[in-house]
């Protein structure tokens, strides 16, 4: 067996960074596994909490927006309409919060052991993905209860899940890296999430947005994701606009590229400033 050869030099970025990430893939799994285990230790109902939160939000939204505000839901029942949007939104919100703060909560690891730091926010997102998959099962049950069968577009759902992961990843690694130096982002992240809930079509459909503002609205990448989820799950009069989706994909790509770039740029200083 040949021994690995390593050169450490100032200012030189690790050439085998991506290979390193691959070598440490088991650690990715263990970090996510740890977070899931720890989250439900010493709780009575355990992982059921992952389900209860979105279900309760769905009920509240259905009552406030569907019954009191009487916003239209199209052909699909209002709870399913809300739930289809809550899935990607809850995923995005928890991912942003958990992954955005993940470097800070794991600062003891960062200052004591080497491994590609990107694993930390990625594993946090992995945990959120598990929640998302659980919620999808609830959605299936809900659709069964309302006897709403999914349209053929449901085969595109994995693509929109992928898009949701990419948006969350791009933004959260950017915020996580910023958070290491500027702890302001610890306060900014909850604000983004709070505001985003109203700026994204969660409690309503994006069809109520006036035509002339449509593309500006689509600059929020979650608009494309949520519209996509609704289109794939509900079908019927929930249409997707190819230009909207393209804008979403574009913004996501930009976020992802800049996120990774900034993260890699600052990564080597993490241990010094955290």
């Amino acid at each position: 067996m040949t021994k690995p050869y390593l050169v450490i030099e100032a200012g030189k970025t690790e050439q085998r960074y991506w290979q390193d990430i691959w070598n440490y893939r088991e650690l990715l799994y263990f970090l996510a596994w740890r977070d899931i285990l720890v989250r439900y230790k010493q709780t009575v109902i355990g992982i059921a909490w992952a389900v209860i939160r979105p279900v309760l939000t769905m009920i509240v939204f259905s009552i406030i927006f569907g019954k009191i505000a009487n916003l239209p839901s199209g052909e699909a029942p209002y709870p399913i309409m809300v739930f289809a949007a809550l899935l990607p939104w809850t995923f995005f919100a928890t991912a942003l919060n958990d992954a955005g703060n993940s470097l800070i909560t794991n600062s003891n690891l960062i200052s004591k052991v080497y491994f590609p730091r990107l694993l930390i926010p990625v594993s946090a997102i992995g945990v959120c993905l598990v929640d998302l998959l659980l919620s999808l099962i609830i959605l299936c049950l809900l659709m069964f209860a309302y006897q709403h069968s999914p349209p053929w577009q449901v085969i595109f759902l994995p693509f929109f899940i992928f898009l949701a992961i990419s948006v969350s990843l791009g933004l959260s690694i950017f915020l996580a890296a910023l958070n290491v130096t500027y702890r302001d982002f610890r306060h900014i992240i909850p604000f983004i999430i709070q505001l985003g809930l109203f700026l994204s079509p969660v409690g309503f459909t994006s069809s109520i947005i006036p035509e002339q503002w449509k593309y500006l609205y689509a600059l929020n990448p979650m608009v494309g994701v949520i519209d996509g989820f609704r289109w794939a799950i509900l079908g019927g009069d929930h249409k997707i606009d190819p230009i909207n989706i393209s804008i979403s994909i574009g913004i996501t790509a930009i976020l992802l590229i800049f996120g990774i770039k900034y993260f890699r740029m600052t990564e080597k200083k993490f241990a010094d400033v955290i």
């Binding site: 021994k3 390593l6 450490i8 970090l31 720890v38 004591k112 200083k269």
Partner: protein, 420 residues
């Protein structure tokens, strides 16, 4: 033997702020700072930003470590040991310089890195193993070994937050001890646990060495270092101070840390009438194997014009054995008092001493009466490579490095001396 680690010109710079010590920066702090900087620049383009200072935690470090060497790295707090280990284990980046490493490296800068209080012992073994770079297969393979070394079989499924601190440490060390790497970097982990477990750890580390593993070991525990390492590096203020045998490194470290030395001001061995006061003694070993001892003595006015005072130095081994006494009158030296002060210096040529650390006592004598005396207030170390020993002296070998030779004699020629 091939070189495993090669470090060239390694430096690490930190920028430290003088204004106040901040845990972290916030934009609120930065904006007024930047504005102030701009204002300053507008007013005076050459204004120095004095709030920040560059601080070199390491500068120009160079060494090579061969496969299988066990290197102890010692130095005071802030000498740069931990920074060096952090750079070697890729946690932080050097400011300049280059390091080449052949082989798998694993570092143990803290016991139980990444242990989670909520998880059970079993879960933590897997988690900690993965964090330290073990694969799941490795961990599964060594799981039983790890558990039995840590002696926690009964508590495997108890959350570690309910462990005693000893159990916690044992488990943490045990995981790390079963790492499968070519180079092991250890920072001060043996400072924990009871004596029995510390010995077990040392034993384990010795057995790791038998398998040809390279070990870098940072410690303050001189006994652990001398028993474990075969080479010592002393860092002082971010620079390489010494690189050589582990015993020499130990002595030099004790010298610079003034260990086992009494201060002159509060010297417990102080005696004499008090008409003179020894204020400073320093001993330096020169390159040409000379020892220079300088002494400064304050003399009371009534003795100002006497020239028949005597300075005495006593040289003791570390165990307190008197090795030599030097009296100034033996070499007809008359100390001169200038401005109520004697400044004298004594040179010892080619000290015939065995490697080790020696402590100096001093006194000033006038007409048979001791005016002042101080005990063990300076130190010097004889390095093994300057003597005929070349190795560390064993405790019962004495203190003299005599100039001697051996020859074969002819057994048949009685009464005649051997010419050769």
């Amino acid at each position: 033997m091939c070189v495993t680690i090669k470090v060239e010109n390694l430096s690490k710079k930190y920028v430290i702020s003088h204004a106040k010590i901040e845990q972290y920066r916030t934009i609120r702090d930065i904006i007024p700072q930047k504005i102030a900087q701009w204002k300053k620049r507008l007013n005076n383009t050459f204004a120095e930003e004095q709030a920040y200072e560059e601080f070199f935690a390491l500068s120009d470090i160079e060494f090579k470590i061969k496969t299988g060497e066990r290197v102890g790295i010692i130095g005071h707090n802030g000498a740069g040991k931990s920074t060096l280990l952090k750079i070697l284990s890729r946690i932080t980046e050097p400011t300049s310089g280059k390091i080449q490493i052949h082989g798998r490296i694993s570092s143990l800068l803290e016991v139980g890195t990444g242990f989670n209080q909520e998880l059970t012992g079993r879960e933590n073994i897997f988690l900690n193993g993965a964090i330290l770079g073990m694969s799941k297969r490795d961990i599964n393979q060594k799981f039983d070994e790890i558990v039995s070394f840590a002696e926690i079989e009964k508590f495997l499924d108890t959350p570690v937050k309910r462990y005693s601190s000893g159990m916690y440490m044992r488990l943490a060390f045990s995981v790390a001890a079963h790492l499968n790497s070519d180079i092991l970097i250890i920072d001060e982990v043996l400072a924990v646990g009871d004596i029995q477990f510390q010995n077990k750890c040392l034993g384990k580390m010795e057995s790791l060495n038998q398998s040809g593993r390279t070990v870098l070991f940072v410690t303050h525990n001189m006994n652990a270092m001398t028993s474990l390492c075969n080479r010592g590096i002393v860092l002082n203020k971010g620079r390489m101070f010494f690189d050589g045998s582990v015993h020499d490194a130990r002595n030099i470290y004790l010298d610079i840390s003034k260990e086992r030395i009494f201060s002159i001001e509060n010297n417990s061995g102080r005696g004499g009438s008090g008409d003179a006061k020894i204020t400073n003694i320093e001993a330096i070993i020169q390159e040409n194997n000379q020892i220079n001892i300088t002494i400064k003595i304050h003399i009371e006015k009534k003795l100002q014009h006497r020239t028949d005072m005597q300075i005495a130095f006593g040289i003791d081994a570390e165990d307190g054995t008197r090795v030599a006494t030097l009296l100034s009158s033996w070499v007809d030296f008359k100390p001169k008092v200038i401005n109520e002060e004697i400044n004298a210096h004594c040179t010892i040529n080619n000290p015939a001493l065995t490697p080790g650390r020696y402590l100096i006592s001093a006194s000033i004598i006038f007409q048979g009466e001791t005016l002042d005396s101080v005990k063990h207030c300076a130190t010097f170390s004889i390095l093994s490579n300057t003597t005929s020993f070349h190795i560390e002296r064993l405790p019962d070998w004495g203190y003299m490095d005599l100039n001697f030779e051996f020859n074969n004699t002819q057994p048949l020629l009685h009464g005649k001396s051997n010419e050769n």
